[in-house]
Amino acid sequence: MKPIRLEVTAFGAFADKQIIDFEIFDKSRLFLIHGPTGSGKTTLFDAMTYALYGETTGAREGKSMRSDHVEKDTKTEVLFIFKIGLQIYQIHRSLYPNAKEDDFITKQSFCEVTWDEQIQQYKECSTPLTKITDIKAEVEKILGFTAQQFKQIVILPQGKFQELLIAPTDIKEKILIQIFDAKVYENITEALNAKSKLFKKQLDDMNTQLQAQMQGIGQTSIEEAKNHYELKNQSLAGLKNQTNNLLKATQEAQKAYQDAKLQHEDYKQKLEAEKLLSEHELKLGRNQTQKAQLEQAELAEPLRADLNEIAGIKKDIHERKEYIKTVDSRLISYQTKQTDCAKALENLENQSDDIKQKQKKVEQLEALKPKYKERDKILSLTKETKAQKEATELKIKEAEQKIQKNKQEAEQKINPEIEQFTLLTQKEDFWKAELTKYQNWEKQRNELKKLRSQYTELDAKLKEANINLDGLSQERLQKSANYDALDARWRKNQAAVLALPLHEDDSLPCPVCGATEHPQLAQSDDKTVSDKDLEKAKKDRNKAEQDYDNAKKQYDQIAQQAHELKVRGVAFAEQLGNIKDKAEEVFKKELEEIENALAAAQNAHKTLKVLKEKLQNLQQEIQDLENQLQSLRKQLDAQNQQFNEENTALQVILAQLPANDSFADEKAMDKFVHKISTEIEKYLEDLNNLHLEKDKIKETLDKQNTEKHATQREIKKLESRLEDKEKKLIRDLEKRKFNSLEEMQAALLTELERQKLRQEIDIWASRHAILKDSLEKINQKLKDLVIPEIHDVEADKNKKENDLQQHREKITELETLLKSYQTQLQKIEKTQEDLQILDTQAEHTLTLYNLANGKNELNQKFQTYVLSVFLDEVVQYANKRLAFLSQERYQLRRIEEVLHGNRKAGLDLKVFDSYSGGERRVNNLSGGETFFTSLALALGLADVATANAGGIRLDSMFIDEGFGTLDSETLDLAIQTLMNLDGEHRLVGIISHVNELKERVSSSRLEIIKGKQGSKVKVHAN
């Protein structure tokens, strides 16, 4: 697992969001996290662990990681992007208090991401998991560690570093199992244990079962049980023999009983038949009543028709009487209507005069219609003319105003301006002349300046040449003197050479002059001068002289030039006079002023022209307006005249119209006429309708009266018929001996009822005959018979049956008992067999389990045996580093000796000290030695785990403190070890406050700066 990016907000000591980009340290592979105590160094690892697993290292709980420096509504957030192999993952967790602030809500998400070049960010590329348990399972799967192991292997935390080294076998075992995926071996041992236990339990159960089975048959051994079985079998045979005799006796008793029963039956039947007959004869009375009823009904039947007819006639009469009532009420209502109609007609008659007048008016108005038309026309004309007049007056006013305005402008504005500008143009020539003058002066001033500077230059050159000349002069003198000296010496030498023999013998004559007395003999001195030297000196002198001459010539030349310049300069200055003294700024300013004035004068020309034009335009405009004014006035007069004419015509018409009929216009008049006409029409219509109605009512009244009379005649007819019928009926009743009509009516029966009566009478008669007959027969049968006592016979039979039954039961019982006994015996035998098989298996399993659980001479469990192979390789790799760190003094060894009695072994480590030649226990090392031994072991583990284990990659490692226990030299070795780890993908992070580390790893470190408002992270890297 290699970290890529970590962002923390409001976590532990960090308040504001801090971002750590681990990819910066890719090149250096080793980085340092340092800062004062409590600044938050370990917190960064806590954040990493928390991001991955939701837990932290050490003793700090997740919720307590929330920073104290933040507001309540700031979320604690951790974002961690990391790489495993080629896949990149991202986990985000946030923690914040809920609304009530009594608990925390956590939100989390986990997904795979890829690097997007375009937006330069990591982008999600799978569906995120958001449940705590899901994420934990996924992380454990891809990382290969649980949180516990992560904290022990990848992050080597403060104080816990040495656990892997010092831990006894059982704890090491757990760690190694996880790393090397060796759980299956542990599982095998445990499965053996489980199986062994299972067998034991089964054995116990089976034994218990056997015990129970023995108890069940009440025996203590199988032989005894078998004997018991034989005895019982024999007694069964004896019983079976007795059965036949008992059976015979019982059968006889049963027959006797049957016969007795039959005889009793017959007797019972006789009694029964007698009973029935007597019961039946009780119903005789009823039978007779029914007969009488039938007779009466047959008498009354023919009179039925007459009765019906009478009822019919009564009904008709009643109907007709009702009808007459209806007609009466109708008649009354129509009479009322008639009266109303007459009244209304009278009303209308009264109004007829009024209507006639209205008709006359209408005629009148129709005649006046055309006149009204004309009046309207003339009114509209006058209105128009008035409007036109007013418009014209307005135009006139406008034109007058405009003329006035233009005149004003011309006088007050334009004319004065023209005057002003004319003045300016006149000055132009003057300024031109001034300008030329000044320009000339300028030229001359510049000339003068140039001359002056040239002169200065030459002056300087002259001075220089002078100095040079002095120098050369001196040189010349020197060289000359030198030469002279040398020359003198040379001569002297010559003289000395010549005088040499004279030194020895001063009586010799002088070779030069021949004198024999030598008062001043030339001495040679040490320093001989050769011809060459002399030549050289001469040359030098000559050269110096020449140099000097040349220089002098040059000097003269320059002096001459300077002088010429000076003369010219003076002449010029005189020419200029005091102009030359004017200051540069002043001169320039004056020049500028002149130029400006000239420009102004030239511009004035243009402006003047423009103004003159404008004046002309104005005057033209005034003229036009005056013309316009005249024509408008003419127009106004014409309009006035027209208006007057129209007004006159209007008056004429008005006189022709009636005074009080002042309708606004023709339309109003039309409306009035229309209204009146409508009123007249309505009146006529109403009149017509009322007449029609009167006639209709009369017709109806007549019709109804006719009907009434007809019905009354019918009723009379019916009433007489009724009387006749009733008389007839009374005569018939008497004939048939009915006392009253009611009696006869009561005796009437329908056809169906009469039939039913007849049936019942017949049935009774036939049944009576049958019963009598059967009683006769039975009496005949039972004539001379004796009945025995049924109870005794029955009792005898029952006893015999009982005895038989009991006997049989006894036999069955015994058979059943014997059968079950046999079954049980079989079961017991099988149980014994099974028991033996199981015993053997359990023994084997137990042996295997004991062995696998460490019951052997090395106290090694099976998984330990397998793991020891891995541990040996780890130790081998660890020793390479340990040799370097301890300068070949220490070596780790895995020991196989049993340290304490039963305690499991095989993975314990000891340290071999080559200086003493003996082994030391790992907890006997000093603090610093323990540190680097643990470090070597951790690195060895990382090496082997990456090479072997499926999927687990220890690409990064973090070491939290521990470096303080090392002295300066060992610290150097430790740093070098960490820096020289193989493999490009490994990243090692160390936390330490040791100052020396800060300087040695200065170009690859994270500084945690503690502040009052939380800590901040600062990166130092290249």
């Binding site: 090149k27 250096s28 592979r29 080793l30 980085f31 299956v184 071996y185 095998i188 499965a191 053996l192 199986k195 053997t840 298996q841 084997h844 399993t845 042996t847 295997l848 062995l851 696998a852 052997n856 001479e857 090395l858 099976f862 045996y865 397998v866 020891s868 192979v869 891995f870 040996d872 390789e873 130790v875 081998q876 020793n879 300068q887 070949e888 003094r889 060894r893 895995r894 196989e896 071999f912 080559s914 200086y915 003493s916 030649g917 082997v944 072997n948 002295d967 300066s968 030299e969 150097d972 820096m979 100052n995 020396e996 300087e999 040695r1000 200065s1002 170009s1003 690859s1004 130092h1020 290249n1022």
Partner: protein, 386 residues
């Protein structure tokens, strides 16, 4: 001008837990004697004055006494710079004040770069004292983000110097760096300069100067002909340096910037050697006696015995009390106790492993019923796991 070039004193260093300060003091006395005899015009100390950024108090005292003697008594100016072991700020204390007395000490680099100008009969020589600088520091000071490696640091510094150095004047650089061409010639006692590489500087970077006096590597090496030289450390500070004698460099520079040079050897009171020997009858003796080994010398002993000898170090230290490191090449390697290798374990099935385990402890093969039991168990477990 006569120039004495020395470097890498590492005062206060502990060598395998032995405090070397006393030996270093003795060595510095010898150095001052050499200065007294040779009378150089200037002494160059090219870095790593102390061994740690906060050195022990006595080490500071020794340094103080030494430079007082050189400057005040022997009246010789001293140009010193901080190396990668030194703390720049602490070394640079009082630099301005001390300069007036003739001690030019440069702890951290200052911009603009000012040379120290000394004169001889031929004219002026410009000395550029450049202390050890991390790329990050210079990046910040020069506000130039392209400075990432030590090569970049020196390229930039050279560009500044070349821009301001007057033509015709001789130039000498005093610096602290790792020349890339020196790869393979370093010793165990030099600290790696940069975590993650890129600490090397090419020798031709210094072509411009007449002489470059370097420190950092502990062996006296030369590059670019003789122009770029390491004086080497004051003493042997690791066993890898045992074969190479220690020295200081004495140069005589003439008008044109060329020079003659000689090495003046430094002989310590206690030497550092790598030796071979063996223990017999509880007594230690050397097997090779080519070198002249004194009793007090610091030794790395390579023991030839083929079997473990109890308390070997004690025995050796009876003869040579300053034996520090013991190596045992002939000792049989600690072999793995298990008969299997990890490759085998990984390739064997659970059943085969169990069989092996059983046979190892019971010395018997698995009989049929046991085979059945274990096979059943393994099958069940594998089924559960899938």
């Amino acid at each position: 001008m006569k120039i004495l070039h020395t470097a890498d004193w590492h005062l206060g260093k502990s060598f395998n837990n032995y405090q070397l300060l006393e030996e270093q003091a003795k060595m510095l006395e010898k150095l001052t004697q050499i200065i007294e005899a040779q009378k150089p015009d200037v002494v160059l100390l090219a870095g790593d004055i102390y061994d740690r950024s906060v050195p022990p108090a006595n080490a500071v005292k020794v340094f103080d006494e030494t430079i007082s003697k050189i400057i005040l008594e022997l009246k010789t100016p001293l140009i010193a710079i901080a190396g990668n072991h030194d703390s720049p700020e602490r070394i640079g204390f009082g630099a301005g004040l001390l300069q007036k007395q003739g001690l030019h000490i440069s702890g951290s680099i200052e911009l603009p770069i000012r040379p120290i100008i000394l004169s001889d009969e031929f004219g002026e020589i410009y000395f550029y004292a450049i202390p050890y600088t991390e790329p990050e520091t210079l990046r910040y000071l020069s506000k130039n983000d392209d400075i990432k490696t030590h090569q970049d640091v020196f390229d930039w510094i050279l560009s500044q110097i070349k821009a301001q150095h007057p033509t015709g004047k001789r130039a000498v650089l005093v610096g602290h760096a790792y020349i890339s061409e020196a790869e393979g010639n370093d010793s165990e006692s030099e600290r790696t300069l940069l975590v993650g590489g890129a600490a090397h500087v090419r020798a031709d970077t210094f072509e411009f100067f007449d002489y470059v006096a370097l420190g950092h590597l502990h062996r006296p090496l030369s590059f670019l002909g003789e122009k770029v030289k390491y004086a080497g450390s004051l003493m042997k500070y690791s066993f890898s340096e045992a074969p190479y004698a220690k020295s200081v460099l004495m140069l005589e520079m003439n008008a044109k910037g060329t020079f003659t040079h000689e090495r003046i050897l430094l002989k310590p009171s206690k030497e550092v050697h790598r030796v071979k020997g063996e223990i017999e009858d509880k007594k230690f003796r050397l097997t090779e006696t080519k070198l002249d080994i004194q009793k007090e010398d610091f030794l790395e002993v390579s023991l030839q015995n083929e079997e473990i000898v109890p308390n070997a170090m004690q025995i050796i230290q009876r003869e040579y009390p300053n034996a520090m490191v013991l190596r045992w090449p002939e000792l049989p390697k600690i072999t793995s106790k298990s008969r299997l290798t990890t490759e085998q374990v990984v390739s064997m099935s659970e059943f085969e492993l169990f069989q092996d385990f059983y046979t190892f402890f019971t010395k018997k093969e698995l009989d049929k019923p046991k085979k059945e039991v274990i096979t059943k168990v393994i099958t069940q477990i594998n089924k559960e796991n899938n």
